[in-house]
């Protein structure tokens, strides 16, 4: 029995709603933890999308610290300058050529980003 209870019909909708800004704080440390875990990545991306955080600054920071996370942010549709986007793609390709745990993921993200550049 599922029991008598309401639920959001898709988990991503619950994530979108839960990501509504509470106050003006955007806790970058918490966000980093969330974007790294596959199970909370979607929530993290919604949090960023619904916050007033400057995506350009965040992606610039992530480019060096966590290129995969930067890739996910760009695939989510967040717009940054063309130069920064290109350097993120370059970083992903470089990571993909190594034999690290994120190599395949990096190449997949680079492939996705190359499919359509911003108009």
């Amino acid at each position: 029995m599922d029991g008598d209870q309401p639920f959001f019909w898709h988990q991503s909708l619950a994530e979108y709603v839960a990501a509504a800004p509470r106050g003006k704080d955007f806790d970058r440390a918490v966000w980093r933890r969330e974007i790294t875990s596959p199970s909370t990545r979607s929530l993290a991306l919604f949090r960023l999308g619904r916050s007033s955080e400057d995506p350009e600054r965040l992606v610039r920071y992530l480019r060096a610290a966590d290129p995969v996370a930067a890739g996910y942010v760009l695939v989510d549709g967040v717009t940054v300058s063309a130069g920064l986007r290109l350097s993120v793609v370059d970083g992903l390709i470089a990571a993909g050529q190594g034999d690290g745990a994120t190599a395949v993921e990096s190449l997949t993200l680079a492939e996705q980003l190359s499919q359509n550049s911003p108009a």
């Binding site: 029995m1 599922d2 029991g3 008598d4 209870q5 309401p6 639920f7 959001f8 019909w9 898709h10 988990q11 991503s12 909708l13 619950a14 994530e15 979108y16 709603v17 839960a18 990501a19 509504a20 596959p38 199970s39 979607s42 929530l43 991306l45 919604f46 960023l48 999308g49 619904r50 695939v75 989510d76 549709g77 967040v78 717009t79 996705q112 980003l113 499919q115 359509n116 550049s117 911003p118 108009a119």
Partner: protein
């Protein structure tokens, strides 16, 4: 069971016929044999036809062919009886020949009945228990519906489903390293984990496969071997993973698929659905069990079940990515569903807009339209009148001249009538996939082809007589400067109009798909719309926003989509739930109380708490406490499932 009484009656009559013959009453015996043969021939067939109309599909599949066996047996008996009477008796030539005829006809009928039996048996669905057939019928009916309510009309799952491919993520695989179809994965592995991103089409995949499987097993496939079933000798079904909390697969499946008036016992799922056939069970959305402890318990249970040698269950777990140790504990190969590539997205768009166009074109039967028979009447009524007048005149003339005149008049009238008929029969309009072909003429043939590669205006005009007799004028305007093509006296003009219009929708599908994909590209969404849910959202927003543009980020896409959902929830009272008042109030929350909605979202993501209780607590702590007076906790709801056009669904277990 009327046919059985007919069969018994026929057999009795045959016995009586033999008795009467033996006592010398051959004429009565002949009559009895004739009646017995007629009964045997018509009774069971008529009864079977009646039973087809009144018996539900699920039950009918098991019985049909036996009627033919009885028919054949009774006819064969009649044949032997009649033949025996003829051979043994010293009858007069008349009754003897009659009995011989009956014997031959009965033997022929028995042969036909036997052939019909073999054919019916080959077409008969697989012999399955009633509860399995009920499950399959429910699956076939419901799996085409989306698990979610989109706040607007969305084409059925099977119409927009794009076949998915997957690649190995972890674990052993006997398949090629490259992407393979999900079908190959399921056929090649006993237990599988399928991983995809949020909205990656996991539920849609499970529903599509369950529907395909149900359609095959309910279909006329008796002669086929179970190995030929889609995905091998398995019957596919699915259950949300969260329903496994604190229970086992059989109970969860029974609870999920039972409906009021159609209970499926859990025993159904503890045994194999048929000999040497397993259940292929999709445990959908493991990640939606947010409580890690509960998820671990479910994983342990599934792991034990997958290792049980005698288990009738093949398990497919679908989930978002989870920590490797969790999914690895199942001991099954982990495959990742490939996201949509550009070709998949184009395929999705074509399917979406085809489904829209097909709403009006489902009944298309490509066919040939003749002109109406009124053309024949128009062609001959005046010559007929003139001919009658002339015959009247000729009738007053002397003998030979009268005969000659009459012959000439009839010959001329006949020739005229033949020409009119040939002209009528040679004129036709044929509707094909890409064109309409108009043809007429006997000696000189006129042929005109109207391509359906662009949008057409199609109109019909019918006079009063035309409406009564079902004919009229059809005009097809393809934008030609010479004007519209006109076809008069067309039989069933409205059917022709609908067919031409629907076929010209092909062009609409191409154009709309192209516009949609161009907007997706312009909004830089190609990389994002790699999962079916987001593609569906984008297509809906594209249609609702009148093709004005698409949002450029996933967050904005959700923002607009939630707006669509909320607008959908305000469609009217018929979309509101029917259960307890508190539920109704709760479902107004998205537009009225975003903070409660957020509290519910937090609780769902955290897992472990009944969201209705979360809502009750929230209400208690706010100014809405008065609402609690409307509910009698814990009787919060009524049996059944209540869906709304909101983001929140109130689900009551069946």
């Amino acid at each position: 069971m009327r046919w059985r009484w007919v069969a018994v009656g026929s057999a009795l009559l045959v016995a009586l016929a033999l008795l009467w013959w033996h006592s010398g009453n051959t004429s009565v015996a002949t009559l009895a044999a004739v009646v017995a043969t007629m009964l045997a021939a018509t009774g069971p067939v008529g009864s079977w036809q009646l039973s087809k109309q009144s018996t539900p599909d699920i039950v009918r599949g098991a019985n049909g062919p036996w009627h033919w066996v009885v028919t054949a047996a009774v006819l064969a008996l009649g044949s032997v009886a009649a033949g025996g009477v003829r051979l043994l008796g010293s009858l007069a030539a008349g009754p003897g020949a009659f009995l011989a005829t009956i014997s031959v006809l009965s033997a022929l009928g028995a042969g036909i009945a036997l052939v019909s039996y073999v054919r019916a048996r080959r077409r008969r669905p697989m012999a399955l228990s009633e509860s399995v057939r009920l499950l399959l019928a429910t699956q076939r009916r419901e799996a085409k519906e989306h698990r979610y309510s989109f706040g607007a009309h969305v084409p059925e799952v099977n119409r927009i489903y794009v076949e998915r491919r997957a690649e190995i993520a972890r674990g052993p695989s006997q398949l090629d390293a490259g992407p393979v179809t999900v079908r190959q994965v399921l056929v090649g592995s006993r237990h599988v984990v399928l991983v995809a991103d949020a909205g990656g089409g996991k539920s849609m995949l499970a529903a599509s496969i369950a529907r395909e499987s149900a359609a095959w097993w309910l279909g006329p496939r008796r002669s086929k071997r179970t190995l030929e079933a889609p995905y091998g000798p398995v019957i596919a079904t699915y259950v949300p993973a969260r329903m496994l909390a604190g229970t086992d697969l059989a109970r969860a499946l029974a609870a999920y698929w039972s409906r009021p008036g159609g209970q499926i016992p859990s025993e159904t799922f503890r045994n194999r659905p048929a000999r040497r056939v397993d259940w292929l069970i999709f445990v959908d959305g493991l990640d939606e069990i947010a409580d890690a402890d509960m998820r671990t318990r479910v994983l342990h249970y599934l792991s034990d079940e997958s290792m049980r040698a005698t288990s009738p269950h093949r398990i497919v777990v679908t989930s978002r990515s989870l920590p490797p140790l969790e999914l690895g504990s199942l001991g099954a190969s982990v495959y990742r569903l490939r996201p949509f590539g550009p070709d998949d997205l184009r395929d999705f768009a074509l399917r979406w807009f085809s489904a829209r166009a097909r709403l009006a074109a489902e009944s298309i039967v490509l066919q040939r339209f003749r002109k109406h028979w009124i053309v024949l009447v128009n062609g001959v009524w005046l010559p007929t009148l003139i001919g009658l007048v002339m015959l009247f005149i000729v009738y007053a003339l002397p003998g030979v001249v009268r005969l000659l005149g009459t012959l000439i008049i009839l010959l001329v009238w006949g020739a005229w009538a033949i020409v009119v008929y040939l002209q009528w029969s040679s004129a036709s309009l044929t509707v094909r996939d890409q064109r309409v072909i108009a043809e007429e003429g006997v000696l000189t043939r006129f042929r005109k082809v109207i391509p359906l590669d662009k949008s057409l205006e199609v109109s019909t005009t019918q006079s009063l007589l035309g409406r009564i007799l079902n004919y009229g004028l059809v005009e097809i305007d393809a934008g030609d400067p010479a004007g519209a093509e006109r076809f008069d006296y067309v039989n069933s003009p409205e059917i022709l109009r609908d067919q031409v219009f629907s076929l010209s929708r092909q062009q609409y599908v191409e154009e709309e798909s192209g516009r949609f994909l161009a907007l997706v590209h312009n909004a830089s969404l190609t990389a994002m719309l790699r999962v079916p849910l987001l593609a569906t959202m984008a297509a809906l927003i594209y249609e609702i926003s009148q093709q004005a543009g698409l949002p450029t980020t996933r967050t904005k896409l959700y923002q607009q989509f939630v707006q669509v959902l909320q607008n959908g929830s305000m469609l009217g009272p018929e979309t509101r739930p029917l259960s307890a008042p508190f539920d109704g109030w709760l479902l107004d929350v998205p537009s009225g109380r975003p903070e409660l909605l957020r509290a519910l979202a937090d609780a769902q993501l955290a897992g472990g708490r009944n969201l209705l209780l979360v809502a009750v607590d929230w209400v208690r702590a706010t100014e809405h406490a008065g609402q609690l007076g409307l509910i009698t906790y814990p009787d919060l709801g009524q049996p059944g499932e209540v869906r709304t056009h909101c983001v929140v669904v109130v689900h009551h277990g069946w």
